[in-house]
């Protein structure tokens, strides 16, 4: 089993402190998630030692409850049934390995995925943050800023969510807390704010600029025009910018996550996803469906409220976090 070896190697090999820490955070953050998921999958293995129709039905239940996405789950189930038939799998313990393997394949899909953030070779790197209301855009910017400031970068935040009451002030407070430069104005044209902000960023020789935007999907025409204008303004001041446009998605989001990803992709060139609020009981399985249907990879995950609770997404650690209990029980 390719993936299983990979995961086991990962656990054995990765002794380096930094790597270990990453895994620990994943584990801790996903504890709730994993507990439920794994115990369910394990119970299933105990309940049914042999593969049966009931086993499939309960497996489907578990995957749907993880918000993996109905279409993705149904296709996945077809593949599992197929393999069971072809490889004549009877033992559910063995099937569990197949399940993990296939989940991995959904996400990776023979592509070489990069979780790296594209940086400008010269001048400020501009990262545009988009997403619907309440997913945690502002907090994510704060965490990213904290991360890059710790790496010795000069960071600036631009508050261009000029619509929601208090959004600009909220970002400004984060800027003060993290030691970032800040520019923002309420109740005005967001592109104007970006224009003025980027001029300052250039003058101040800032390394990374994060731009916070309003998450109003309700009126797509408006949002589209707004984002088009923003992109135009950004590109005019800093050529080839924005270097990244990150879509923030709440882990508690259900099937609507796919619509969010599709809609924003239609409007602007999304380069990656930040999956937030993975510290609750939500499983965030929708990212698998998004990767499969829209093709946008996850770059970061948010695992809590602390500034340090943002990690680079790593599919192997993610699946490892989800299935650790299962592997240890072997």
């Amino acid at each position: 089993m390719g993936l299983f070896d990979k995961i086991k190697n990962l656990v054995n090999k990765k002794e380096k402190v930094e790597e270990k820490e990453t895994l620990d955070v994943y584990e801790k953050g996903l504890e709730k998630t994993r507990d439920e998921f794994v115990s369910k999958l394990n119970l299933l293995g105990i309940k049914y030692t042999k593969v049966s129709e009931e086993y499939f039905e309960e497996l489907e239940n578990i995957l749907i409850m993880a918000d993996i996405g109905v279409n993705t789950v149904f296709k996945f189930m077809d593949r599992i049934r197929d393999r069971v038939k072809k490889e004549n799998i009877i033992d559910t313990k063995y099937l569990q390995e197949v399940i993990v393997d296939e989940l991995f394949i959904i996400y990776v899909n023979n592509e070489s995925l990069s979780d790296k953030i594209k940086m400008a070779s010269d001048g400020p790197t501009v990262i545009l943050m988009v997403g619907v209301n309440g997913v945690g855009k502002t907090t994510t910017i704060a965490k990213l800023a904290y991360k890059y400031i710790n790496e010795g970068k000069k960071v600036m935040m631009i508050g261009a969510d000029t619509f929601r009451a208090g959004a600009v002030t909220q970002l400004e407070e984060w800027a003060n807390k993290t030691g970032s430069l800040f520019f923002g104005k309420e109740n005005t044209d967001p592109s104007g704010v970006i224009f003025d902000g980027l001029e300052i960023a250039k003058k101040e020789r800032v390394d990374i600029v994060f731009i916070d935007t309003a998450g109003r999907l309700q009126n797509k025409v408006n949002l589209m025009k707004e984002l088009e204008k923003m992109n135009r303004v950004i590109g005019k001041i800093i050529p080839n910018a924005p270097h990244e446009t990150l879509l923030v998605i709440d882990a508690t989001t259900g099937q609507n996550g796919i619509i969010q990803a599709e809609s924003f992709k239609e409007i602007t060139n999304i380069t990656g996803i930040v999956l937030t609020k993975l510290d609750g009981t939500a499983k965030g399985g929708i990212v698998l469906a998004i990767k499969e249907s829209v093709g946008i990879p996850v770059k970061f995950i948010g695992l809590g409220e602390k500034m340090t609770d943002l990690k680079v997404f790593d599919i192997e650690s993610y699946i490892y976090g989800l299935f650790k209990g299962m592997i240890d029980d072997e």
């Binding site: 109905v70 209301n133 009451a165 407070e173 309700q218 508690t252 609020k277 939500a282």
Partner: protein
């Protein structure tokens, strides 16, 4: 809101239209489609299972009478079951206590603060209350500012004491309300995870100190299968009296509405259906079910319109139309009223058979309406009343003033002419109303 769910259900039901009678075999496809559609709408897995079994059982047990076709019968069963799931009775808000204390709780980002503003606005407008908003979100940066801004826009008082202990803030707020004669107190609390014991204890402390009559869980309609854990978590810790479903606009399917009542017995009291501060509507299970089945929500539209246009205004306008004196000034008034209804897409989606007519994905560019407004506003009041005086030079001036082209000015004037002609025809009885 339930667009996708509606699509699947309509399709599934259409398939059994031609059947002579209902058998397990001929409803299998429809049942499977229903199951898929509900799951895609994020309805809880267990609920879907039960729902599907109930529908199947009832459909098979029913005789297709002489008057009912199988698809009509099937629709009736599905609709009745949907209503049963959504809760058959309305759950009005407690308004009779003096003062009524209401606390809003929920996860981060579910929309509590905005909902607090909407609720205060609603209570003042519909229940003639004098609400006081209390800012208890001491954790999220600028949360207090956000509530204060909302209060300022709505002209509703906001009580805040910075980052003091929330229990103390609430106590002080009650004192303050007594003096200021506020009869409805809305407490906005910080967002928290249902598994965060420390923060859940804070809510319990507020509950035990002031005993709110209403403890309302604010929940994002876009939530997936985890919704049930959240609702159960909050319901276990607190005595929830109801639920408000937010963000039910845009493309939200909101299957969580179907799960909440059924699994927890907590009634849905309101839905947040636009980003505007009057975007809060009472929750009607029957209407929701009809919307799911693509039967439209005419009652909902009528209510929205009534909110904005008074009966007298409406009568005056009809008179004017009939007398043929309808001019650009009236046109401008109408335009402003339409704008107040919120995004037009949302209204169009509420029309019966909207999907069938392909209207569910219509996108209205609010800029276009703004252009027309600009053109009219660039005219003098006399010109608006007497558009016939508009000749080339005046038109050029108006075009320049509004930043639009002369063609656009002409187009608007032609529209008005056509509209007047139609009104005259209706008046003289030469044309029947299109409905």
């Amino acid at each position: 809101m339930f667009e996708y769910m509606g699509d699947r259900l309509s399709k599934a039901i259409k398939n059994i239209r031609g059947m002579g009678r209902i058998t397990e075999e001929n409803i299998n496809d429809a049942i499977r489609e229903i199951r898929m559609a509900l799951l895609e709408a994020d309805v809880n897995y267990q609920v879907v299972k039960e729902f599907v079994n109930n529908v199947k059982e009832k459909a098979l047990g029913m005789d297709v009478g002489k008057n009912l076709k199988p698809d009509e019968l099937f629709i009736k069963i599905v609709k009745d079951e949907l209503i049963a799931l959504l809760g058959t009775d309305e759950a009005p808000l407690e308004t009779n206590k003096y003062p009524t204390i209401l606390m809003l709780v929920g996860l981060q980002g579910s929309g509590k603060t905005t909902t607090a503003g909407k609720l205060a606005n609603y209570l003042r407008k519909k229940e003639s209350k004098h609400p006081l908003l209390v800012a208890c979100d001491i954790y999220r940066p600028a949360a207090i500012d956000q509530l204060k801004t909302l209060g300022k826009n709505l002209n509703i008082p906001v009580f805040e004491e910075g980052k003091k202990n929330p229990v103390e803030i609430v106590k002080d707020a009650l004192e303050y309300a007594k003096n200021e004669k506020n009869d409805y107190i809305i407490i906005d609390t910080a967002g928290r995870l249902h598994i965060d014991e420390e923060l859940m204890q804070e809510l319990k402390d507020i509950e035990n100190t002031v005993h709110p009559y209403e403890i309302i869980l604010v929940i994002d309609a876009m939530m997936g299968q985890d919704a049930i854990n959240v609702i159960e978590g909050f319901n276990k810790a607190l005595n929830l009296t109801g639920c408000i479903l937010t963000k039910l606009d845009g493309n939200t399917k909101g299957g969580v509405a179907l799960s909440v009542r059924h699994l927890t017995n907590v009634p849905i009291k309101f839905v947040g259906d636009s980003e505007k501060l009057d975007g809060l509507s009472k929750f009607y299970p029957e209407r929701m079910a009809e919307r799911i089945l693509d039967m439209g929500d005419i009652m909902g539209i009528a209510e929205k319109v009534e909110d904005i246009i008074s009966e007298q205004d409406a009568k005056d306008q009809v008179k004017k139309m009939q007398s043929g004196k309808y001019d650009l000034e009236d046109f401008l008034t109408n335009l402003k009223q339409i704008k107040k209804l919120g995004p037009l897409e949302n209204i169009i989606k509420m029309l019966p058979q909207a999907r069938k007519m392909g209207l569910n994905n219509v996108q209205v560019d609010p800029k276009q309406m703004a252009h027309v407004e600009a053109i009219i506003q660039s005219m003098t009041p006399y010109e608006r009343r007497h558009p016939e005086v508009l000749k080339a030079t005046r038109k050029q001036r108006i075009a320049k003033g509004s930043g639009r082209s002369v063609e656009e000015v002409n187009r608007l004037l032609n529209q008005l002419k056509k509209k007047k002609k139609m009104m005259k025809m209706m008046q003289s009885g030469n044309m029947k109303l299109p409905f």
